[in-house]
């Protein structure tokens, strides 16, 4: 039932510069995977490739449902989502930003409204519902990004540095959100961070990229 990913021998070069070399990993168990590594080591690149936003130069990203491979089509892309580090807020209200993923799936009206309200509550942004999304603070923007992703009920949620430009308080709120998702049997989370203690608090599985190579940094379960 649950979606898993098998990443095999991913390589990616930018301008001839190898960023990722032969990265392989299997994200099959549910839980929280945390990816760390120095600036520019390729974490964001790895997330974009595994979330099918960008193709690798070589290697494969294959999704599985109960060990059966799932074709990488629109339908699959709609079961996963990536929250970008800069989020990409639309020039519209917080409400409309969050409703976007529903709108493009043909979900409107009451049903959409209820789902958006639930997502807003989950990330504690209900009071900002009618504000323009572009006027939010960094911490609120990250929470908007998470709500916009959660509302479409993804089976795998990629988060790229959700707490990078965020103060301690908001960072802890975001951690609580991630832990709450886990408790509620939410999506598998694959997330990057630079905060080692945060990584230890959240991770079921720690991963690290060094010199373009991905390796498991210990299973904490």
């Amino acid at each position: 039932m649950r979606l898993g990913i098998e990443v095999s021998n991913i390589t990616k070069k930018y301008n001839g510069d190898p960023i990722l070399r032969n990265c392989s990993f299997s994200f099959k168990k549910p839980g929280v995977y945390i990816l760390t590594g120095p600036n520019g080591c390729g974490k964001s690149t790895f997330l974009r490739i595994s979330s099918l936003i960008e193709p690798p130069d070589s290697g494969t990203v294959i999704f599985f449902s109960d060990d059966n491979p799932v074709p990488a089509d629109l339908q699959l892309r709609r079961r996963i989502t990536l929250v970008l580090p800069k989020v990409g807020v639309f020039n519209a209200t917080v409400f409309r930003n969050i409703a976007y993923g529903l709108k493009i799936r043909g979900i409107h009206g009451r049903e959409a409204e209820e789902k958006v309200n639930r997502a807003l509550e989950f990330v504690r942004l209900s009071h900002k519902k009618d504000q323009n999304g572009l006027t939010l603070s960094s911490g609120e923007t990250q929470r908007l990004g998470i709500a916009r992703a959660l509302v479409i009920e993804p089976e795998i949620l990629f988060l790229d540095e959700p707490t990078a430009s965020v103060d301690q308080k908001n960072s802890l709120i975001i951690e609580e959100i991630i832990l709450a998702m886990k408790k509620e049997n939410g999506p598998t989370v694959i997330m990057t961070t630079h905060d080692q203690s945060q990584a230890n608090r959240l991770a079921d599985t720690l991963l690290v990229i060094r010199d373009g190579v991905l390796s498991a940094g210990g299973d904490r379960k």
């Binding site: 892309r77 970008l84 989020v87 639309f90 493009i104 572009l134 479409i152």
Partner: protein
């Protein structure tokens, strides 16, 4: 000095009484320029989207051409349309010369490059992160393009208003292809030109005041839309 003041007061009374001739001239102006603008928008928006979203040969050349045509001299366009529509011209059989339709065609040609080029600029200046964000949320290619157009909406509306400003103010093209026939092809700008020539300042002045007011309103609208467009941005 006295005659200026006299002309002014007569002009004001023309405006306040909404003189019938005045009314007809204003309505025809709005009809011609409005229709031309709608036509230019209907053609210009898809062109701007095509240029913004698709890569194809000659794309760059078309963009430069549109930019150049934004500054087309109205008299040149008028002359060109005149030659096309004149009785001995290739489209003479349509008998469109000296009709409002000819004026609409000329103004559409004037407004189209402005609408298309400025809308294209608005579309390509949308932050690329918007494309990525809508992609991550599961949008189809068409839905991604629509999301980008939505982000560009204020710029696109500004483009349309700039097109309106252009056609409402021009006189060269419609004078040549419309002929300024009383009660038929006479619009605000052509009337001003003619009545001034005749020394008939009251009507010219009345129309000048109205034209100025309209142009002020257009610019005010532009100002507020551009202000709204950046209202939310704090990063």
């Amino acid at each position: 000095m006295d005659s200026i003041i006299e002309s002014f007061s007569k002009a004001l009374s023309l405006i306040l009484n909404l003189d019938r001739e005045l009314r007809e001239i204003i309505f025809l102006s709005i009809e011609v320029s409005g229709t031309a603008l709608i036509a230019a928008t209907i053609i210009g928006l898809p062109v701007s989207a095509l240029l913004g979203f698709k890569r194809f040969p000659l794309r760059g050349a078309i963009i430069s051409m549109l930019n150049t045509f934004m500054g087309l001299p109205p008299v040149a366009v008028g002359l060109f349309i005149y030659l096309l529509l004149s009785r001995s011209g290739p489209l003479g059989f349509l008998a469109l010369l000296y009709t409002p339709t000819a004026m609409i065609i000329a103004q559409t040609i004037l407004a189209f490059p402005i609408v298309a080029s400025l809308s294209h600029s608005a579309i390509v200046s949308v932050d690329p992160i918007i494309r990525q964000a809508s992609m991550t949320l599961g949008a189809t290619p068409l839905q991604i393009s629509l999301a980008i157009i939505r982000e560009a909406r204020y710029g696109i509306i500004s483009a349309v208003i700039a097109g309106l400003g252009r056609v409402m103010a021009e006189v060269g093209a419609i004078l040549i292809v419309g002929g300024n026939i009383a009660g038929f092809t006479r619009v605000m700008t052509t009337t001003i030109a003619m009545e001034t020539d005749k020394g008939n300042f009251e009507l010219a002045l009345a129309l000048g005041i109205i034209l100025l007011t309209i142009s002020l309103l257009i610019n005010l609208a532009l100002y507020f839309i551009q202000k709204r467009g950046v209202a939310g941005v704090n990063r």
